[in-house]
């Protein structure tokens, strides 16, 4: 009877192992323990391994963006040369120089020498769709003071914080596409008002924006000279009471 009482008293300090032993004494003798039992006995070890894997995942994205800052420090902000050794193979930049064709910058190879010739030429357009670019990696794009067109379609790590940095391109940027970025919300779109030269803006298919139709109207009001391609004002309109309750006070207010 002492065994049965033990789990109650030791609720705070007992481990899963102790509990299972007390409840089912015969189970210990059972040979061939299952994998689950094995993992459960080593709960804290498994938890530590999972935390480590999570940290590694995050570090991977940083790794991809890190070599950008190394290049910038070594060669100065004006020399945007993606073909230097150490450039990560994954982010694929498509850059267009003045009147030239689109050039793909993916890894080392034959195009290395080609790019080296154009290294002082200002870059007009960058297509970084699908790249793992994040807040740190944007350093390089922001160094391009003559950039006119930027496409960040479907970039998984571009979020509101990244948008707040785009004001540095305000003097030249005319075209911007953010379609399909999962982390951008209407709060980030609010800081696009710095881009007074912007003529075309694509904000369609942004899943994190709470009210796409209303957001598009507000962005159009914010940027009067810009053509905003978005969800369309009619999207999200529902006849009836549900629409009204969605609009007002989107953040929780303490009572």
């Amino acid at each position: 009877s002492l065994r049965l009482a033990a789990p109650v008293w030791n609720w705070g300090t007992g481990s899963i192992r102790g509990l299972s032993r007390a409840v089912d004494p015969e189970g210990i003798q059972r040979k061939g323990r299952t994998l689950f039992q094995f993992l459960a006995d080593r709960f804290y070890d498994v938890a530590a391994v999972r935390e480590y894997l999570l940290r590694k995942q995050v570090l991977k994205v940083h790794q991809k963006n890190r070599s950008f800052t190394y290049i910038k420090e070594r060669y100065g902000p004006n020399l945007f040369d993606p073909q230097l050794p150490g450039y990560p193979a994954n982010p694929v930049f498509l850059s267009r120089f003045q009147d030239k064709e689109w050039m793909r910058s993916s890894g080392r190879g034959l195009s290395f020498l080609e790019f080296w010739e154009f290294r002082a030429v200002p870059i007009e357009a960058v297509d970084a769709s699908g790249c793992a670019i994040n807040y740190q990696g944007l350093d390089h794009l922001l160094a391009l003071k003559e950039l006119q067109s930027l496409s960040l379609r479907c970039c998984p790590h571009v979020d509101d914080w990244c948008l707040s940095r785009l004001h540095q391109l305000a003097d030249s940027l005319q075209e911007l596409s953010l379609a399909g970025c999962p982390r951008i919300s209407e709060r980030g779109l609010a800081c696009l008002h710095h881009l007074w030269n912007l003529r075309r803006l694509d904000i369609s298919h942004l899943p994190a924006v709470s009210n796409p139709g209303l957001t598009q109207i507000l962005v159009e009001e914010m940027l009067p000279n810009c053509e905003v391609l978005g969800a369309g004002w009619a999207q999200g309109l529902k006849l009836g009471l549900e629409e009204q309750s969605q609009d007002t006070a989107s953040s929780p207010i303490p009572a």
Partner: protein, 486 residues
């Protein structure tokens, strides 16, 4: 856990059977004997706390290395950094004591949630810069396996401070300091203001400073929940209770000049459980005072300020609660999506809230108009008489608006110089402060938490030097005055 079953048998044998048979022994003696026997058993067999006579699972543990008084964003930040910077995993036992788990009166959740780098002191700017970097990478700092990522709902819209002729020179100097420290702030003339924000009435405005990056507002409740979740996963214990007493011991020491100084060290913290007279004495090595608006009371409990005025013993912690109102209104013709958090030279401020043309704002009252901090009742006349005219004068669209709701919260107001108190007390050697931020505590919480953790673990500030914010400045009279206070 076979061991603990053994203790139980042993303990029960000693006490359970023994109680019935002995006579003529008073209960007072018994309590003493019980705790003595318990200590003997525990010294022989090390392990967790246990009590054979009654269930103590709702009480805090009996020992903890660090006790943090106050579970708001500052307390949780200190707990997080203590666990993160400890040398070995699980080296430090931390207990967070919070009186109200619903946080109904806590300044953290009632705050407007703004973060800015536009301060006049370089230390404040650095604290804010680190905090914004923490918030930006919050899902790396506060990641918990299997839990969804945190969404702070950060609006990077910036702060816009307006200055009249009088304050223009100070503003220019401040902006120079801010830029030196690395904040991205720009100065605007009234002409540029009118071009950028046509809804502002620039009458009386000589200069404006606008934060371009890393400034804005966010949801403090999600930060609090994120910190809480992470800190619990790191092994910090939480307890709902109120600190009622500190038990300390004193030591007489002599300074090099021969003066006698009495140094106190807190040994026990008595934590009283809600709605009951039960309390638990928690033995501790370090106490961190992050009680916000009530830090002054906690400091008094520790004996800070009990002495002849003008001496170090007699210097109280000058932090007291000040009530501030926040109003939420709707204005259909109000400023658009680009509106930053506007701070008028008169002290009124407002910001957008959501997509639906709702705005949050308020105004700090002057010294004569200070409301009574006894409760959190809202004074709606204050909005009608004081706040609305100022807002309508600055933004003409606000002449027609409709107040939807309002609430009040406390500033942990530092009456000395409106800046935080960070670091240990010179006489009560193991009490550390992280309070008194007078309205900008939330935005500096991550950096201050790290500073206090460094002070506790290393003995000095490592990353940001917060020596101007030590307690001793109250006795020495050296003000670290912050001029940009909203």
């Amino acid at each position: 856990m076979l061991r603990s079953a053994l203790w139980l048998g042993w303990g029960r044998g000693l006490l359970g059977l023994g109680l019935g048979t002995r006579r003529g022994v008073s209960t007072l003696e018994w309590d003493g004997k019980v705790s003595e026997i318990k200590k003997k058993i525990q010294s022989v067999i090390p392990g967790g706390a246990w009590n054979p006579l009654y269930d103590t699972s709702h009480l805090p543990p009996e020992h903890s290395d660090v006790v943090i008084v106050g579970g708001g964003v500052l307390g949780l930040s200190v707990a997080y950094w203590l666990k993160r910077l400890e040398k070995q995993r699980g080296a430090i036992k931390v207990l967070v004591v919070e009186r109200d788990h619903t946080y109904s009166q806590a300044s953290t959740v009632l705050s407007v949630g703004g973060i800015r780098q536009q301060f006049s002191l370089p230390e404040n700017i650095q604290l804010s810069l680190f905090s914004v970097e923490f918030l930006r990478n919050i899902n790396e700092y506060l990641a918990v396996v299997d839990d969804p990522p945190l969404d702070l709902q950060f609006n990077p819209s910036g702060y816009l401070f307006l200055a009249s002729e009088k304050g223009a020179a100070t503003m220019e100097n401040n902006v120079k300091v801010q830029r030196q420290e690395g904040a991205k702030v720009c100065l605007m003339s009234p002409e540029q203001l009118r071009n950028k924000f046509p809804w502002i009435n620039t009458e009386g405005v000589a200069l404006a400073s606008y934060g371009l990056e890393n400034e804005g507002w966010f949801d403090p409740w999600s930060l609090l929940q994120g910190l809480r979740r992470k800190v619990q996963s790191m092994g910090v214990l939480f307890c709902q209770g109120e600190v009622t007493r500190f038990v300390s011991s004193s030591d007489r020491m002599e300074t090099p000049s021969g003066e006698e100084v009495i140094l106190k060290k807190i040994h026990e913290v008595h934590v009283k459980v809600d709605h009951s007279q039960e309390y638990q004495p928690v033995e501790c090595a370090i106490v961190v005072n992050t009680a916000g608006a009530w830090s002054g009371q906690i400091a008094e409990l520790a004996g800070i300020g009990k002495g002849p005025p003008g001496t170090l013993q007699g210097t109280k912690l000058p932090v007291e609660p000040r009530k501030r109102y926040v109003y939420l209104w709707h204005c259909p013709q109000g400023p658009g999506l680009e509106a930053p958090l506007l701070a008028d030279p008169s002290g009124a401020y407002f910001r957008r809230d959501g997509l639906g043309n709702n705005y949050l704002g308020g105004c700090s009252p002057t010294a004569e108009e200070e409301p009574d901090p006894g409760n959190l009742e809202v004074d709606h006349d204050f909005f009608q008489d004081k706040v609305w005219p100022l807002l309508a004068q600055r933004v003409p669209a606000f002449e027609t608006l409709k107040v939807k709701s309002a609430w009040a919260g406390y500033y942990d107001y530092n009456t000395f110089d409106q800046n935080g108190v960070v670091g240990p007390h010179p006489l009560v050697v193991n009490m550390y402060f992280a309070t008194g931020f007078s309205g900008h505590g939330l935005q500096q919480a991550p950096a201050v938490g790290r500073a206090v953790a460094e002070m506790v673990l290393e003995g000095h500030f490592q990353t940001i030097d917060l020596s101007p914010f030590l307690f001793s400045r109250f006795y020495l009279g050296e003000k670290a005055q912050e001029h940009c206070i909203i």
